[in-house]
């Protein structure tokens, strides 16, 4: 977990948001910059940049990001435009949509994964996906 040292210059590319350990956050967290979560979040997390979910983090809610690394626990759907990595300590209970999925040894994942084009495919309820598949099947035949 990266900590900020007051003595060091704070390098700001785009605003980085850090939710520390022992922080309880309720509501929707949206940012254009990178987000690092080490605490508890109940609600949506949405960033146009990268998202790092620390090993002590517990998130209940849907997640969107460009590149997402999960080393903590997520209960909710997860969407990554580029890469989605579940690290050995990571636990995901929900559906995933991403361009590239990396699941490391020891990681836990319960849900459905979709390798959408650029991870832009929106997550839909399972029955809708089944209907779409059936329509495609009829068209092709």
């Amino acid at each position: 977990m990266a900590m900020f040292d007051q003595n060091k210059p704070v390098t700001k590319k785009v605003s980085e948001t850090v939710v520390g350990v022992d922080v309880n956050l309720t509501g929707n967290l949206k940012s254009d910059g990178d987000i690092q979560i080490n605490g508890k979040v109940k609600g949506e997390v949405d960033t146009k940049s990268d998202l790092f979910i620390g090993d002590q983090a517990v998130i209940e809610g849907s997640i969107k990001g460009k590149n997402v690394v999960v080393t903590g626990q997520v209960r909710g759907n997860l969407q990554a435009l580029e890469d989605l990595e579940i690290s050995p300590t990571g636990k995901v209970f929900g559906d995933l949509v991403t361009k590239n999925l990396i699941v490391k040894k020891g990681a836990s994942f319960t849900g459905k994964s979709t390798m959408g084009e650029n991870g832009k495919k929106e997550l839909k309820p399972i029955y809708e996906l089944e209907e779409l598949k059936a329509k495609d099947h009829i068209k092709n035949s």
């Binding site: 007051q6 210059p9 700001k12 980085e16 850090v18 022992d22 922080v23 509501g27 609600g43």
Partner: protein, 271 residues
């Protein structure tokens, strides 16, 4: 024409230091008027007097709290602020791109002006650099409620810093743009580094490391102490106000004279 406002000297050393600055400014041959605060005329009155006289540039020679207080008055009148900090550790050096008072004086006649945001704490307090939020005596973190945009965060905090721009040395254009990004940065400190005890630190004059555990950005937010009322302090630790309090940013609030080679695009304009 510049109007120089000097704080009332607290002691002989400070009076001597002020005379040195005045002599240095005299050598630079900047045309203007010097007003020194005294027990009858406070700095605020002198500043207002200068604005009434029609001066468009007010130069404050003083501590961080005085500069912050007068900056709000100057911003309201649309005048330009010149800054000569007297505290060697002043947070304003970061803003103007200087490292000492001599550089700050030398920047004045070159008159490179940048427009910066100002932070607002409550209805009446304004700040250009940062304020701190902390209880009277903090030995362990206490719960603080942060209400920002669409979320609420309960945060254990030993202290917090609400900054208009970067806290480190803003030695690049990119970093100093933090003072005009229309956002306040909220740093939450949960612990002070344990590498040196305070006694050892004071004996050997080693600095204790302060680490930030959370960092948020917002243009408006509210802070409340859940366990106790917290103080809002200026950069020089003077109590300005108390929690609960709402903070907001006033974009492009003030024109400030900065060091010419500091690389800031001047003036910075916002939509």
């Amino acid at each position: 024409m510049y109007y120089f406002v000097l704080e009332q000297a607290k002691n002989r050393w400070q009076a001597g230091f002020q005379n040195r600055i005045a002599a240095f400014l005299d050598d630079l041959q900047i045309v203007g008027e010097i007003a020194k605060a005294n027990p009858i005329q406070k700095v605020e009155e002198l500043c207002q007097l200068g604005l009434k006289k029609g001066y468009h540039t007010i130069v404050i020679i003083g501590t961080d709290t005085t500069i912050s207080t007068l900056a709000a008055l100057i911003a309201k009148q649309g005048a330009t602020l010149g800054i000569v900090p007297i505290d060697p550790e002043s947070s304003f050096y970061n803003l103007i791109g200087c490292t000492n008072w001599e550089q700050a004086c030398l920047a004045l006649p070159k008159r490179r002006v940048a427009t910066f945001d100002m932070g607002q704490a409550g209805a009446e307090r304004f700040f250009l650099t940062y304020v701190k939020i902390a209880p009277d005596k903090a030995k362990k973190p206490s719960q603080v409620l942060l209400e920002i945009a669409d979320f609420k965060a309960e945060v254990p905090a030993l202290s917090m810093t609400v900054a208009n721009g970067p806290l480190g040395d803003a030695d690049s254009e990119l970093m100093r743009q933090g003072f005009s990004d229309s956002l306040l940065d909220i740093y939450v400190t949960t612990q002070v580094g344990q590498t040196n005890s305070s006694i050892i630190s004071s004996i050997f004059k080693t600095e204790q490391k302060t680490t930030f555990s959370s960092l948020f950005h917002a243009d408006r937010f509210r802070v409340s102490g859940l366990e106790q009322i917290l103080n809002v302090l200026g950069p020089d630790d003077r109590i300005l106000t108390k929690t609960p309090i709402e903070f907001s940013i006033v974009p492009s609030a003030i024109k400030v004279i900065i060091k010419k080679s500091s690389g800031v695009k001047a003036p910075v304009k916002h939509q």
